[in-house]
Amino acid sequence: MTPDDPKDPAGQHETVPGTSPGASPQGGVVPDSRGEFTPVRTDTPVADPGLPAHQWRPTDVDPKLEKRAERQVAGMFVAAQVFVVLFVVSYFVFDIGGDGDAILGLGASTVTLGLCLGIALLLIGVGIIQWARKLMGDHEISEMRHPARSSDEDRTATLEALRVGTEESGIARRPLIRNTLLGSVGLLGVPAVVLLRDLGPTPGEVATEQPYEGAGLANTVWADGMRVVRDVIGTPIRAADLEIGDLVNATAAALYETNEEGELVLEGTERLIANSKAPVIVVRMEPDEIEDVDGRENWTVDGIIAYSKICTHVGCPISLYERTTHHVLCPCHQSTFDLADGANVVFGPAARALPQLALAVDDEGYLVAQSDFDEPVGPSFWERG
């Protein structure tokens, strides 16, 4: 059987439409899969002309074209094999890693592997589809649907069976049993939820037990006299060294405290947690540019002012500082705070000002905190008050 042979294998319950083109104009009939005749909707304004006659493809009628299409498809499959080989070659030829090979400034290994694999797969895919389009039998066939809905007798019988079953179980007559059953099955959801209880401690437990320094939503590692240090670098900041317009991304000295062996005191998860609440932005502006906030008159040092770096919206770190306007922008959702005016929100979805860290200088002239923040840092939560 040649690939273009459209004839159906014997025994298939299908019809090849178009074999009788121009079905009768008055309520055309289409033979169905069981060989019966189902009348087609006749109330349409125009009678159904039936499926159009099958039209042959050039490859069906011209053996030369057929041969060519065959070679075309086979060519694609061969080319795919070539690219698979190239894939293997480039796997072994190109170095990877930080100093791997590059082609046109792109990573050689990734690009060649991707291209070879991709092109090989595309050639196989396109080849198969082209085979189907040009050479496989392309007669549309028609198949009858079975109604998704059962016949009426079936439905009545089923409903009756259900009714009898329900009746015999007595579920309707014995509400006590029914309701207690529902109650007990429903209550099974409770163990499922309770089992999840030990996923973590509650906020209250963490806050009261203080398993590590600054534990709990309302606390951080900041404490009276703790130096403000440059984030990542870890060096303390001398107040006199900062110039007007400076922005320091800073954090608490506790994060860079080391023991005698030079190892960090705060490590692992505790360090991550401390690190996620402690960061501050320290800026210096003209002292008279700072609007006074009641009760915070002594929280700045010579125009040096520090605010929590954690956005009060959903907690992104925020340090896109505009020196001229003293506005700081959050890159996640664009909340904008005015650092000269108590870090109040001037734009965007945040609702609360950034918490301010009270600053002072120690004997050596380095910036230190006067205390922990006087409110929780980061996003709002229910118990925040």
């Binding site: 042959w56 493809r57 009628v61 100093d99 791997g100 792109l106 001398r238 006199a240 922005l247």
Partner: protein, 290 residues
Amino acid sequence: MRLLNRTAGRLSRHRRRPVAGLLVLLLGLFATGTFYAAFAPAQAETTASDAAQVEEGRELFLIGCAFCHGTNGEGVLTESGTQYGPALAGVGAAAVDFQVGTGRMPLVQPGQQAPRKPVIYSQDEIDALGAFVASLGPGPAVPEESEYSVEGLSAEEQEEAVVRGGEIFRTNCTACHNFDGAGGAMPRGGYAPSLKGVEPKYIYEALLTGPQSMPTFSNGNLTPEDKADVIAYLQESEEQPTYGGFGLGSMGPVAEGLFAWVVGIGGLVGFAIWIAAHSTRSLKQKGTTE
């Protein structure tokens, strides 16, 4: 930080030497001191040429800058009291070198942002302008190459500088300039410009002087070595191949989403249309050509 020894050539091609920088600085200081102490006539000569340069700068300033910054760089206020052009006393020659050297000044028109444009002054003219502005008040001078270069360090130290610079960069710079230095949006139409292809000198000057709305990173804030490390990291990331193929502008997930829809879904829907499209048909009936 523990570092592995590496001999790969790519990393060290553009390394610069801060130690040498320090050396040059010391030499410069020494030389200056010597000039002052020993060679009085030479001193007079230098002052004379300095004065000439300041005078040349003043003339250029009066033509090109005074309209906004005032004839003595005192700044001009608008009627509503906002700054038209800021006062320039104390901004230093470094600010002038950055602003004029990158074409940001003179401005075409006042606005939220001074964009980078083709430079219209020669380097000599820029130096003269810088000398004039520096004479208005003490400010940061134009840095020597040795200050912002890590060349001269050992390969291992250079590698360490890149790692450290990356950490400092991600802490202080990426928030505005994006993880790849591709730039980002700022409030009210402003933007942090792209850092790609910017000369190390200008990056150093920008850190030092805080152009437009950028905060300053004075030497008391980030030490010169810190700044040199950041520059080393930026140089290194520009030299790296983009390992994963084309970078899509390094704009993050928005650009990636755009490509997924346009190239990915667009391409695949195109394929779907081709797969379902009817192939060409013939007028002939089967068997007629045989």
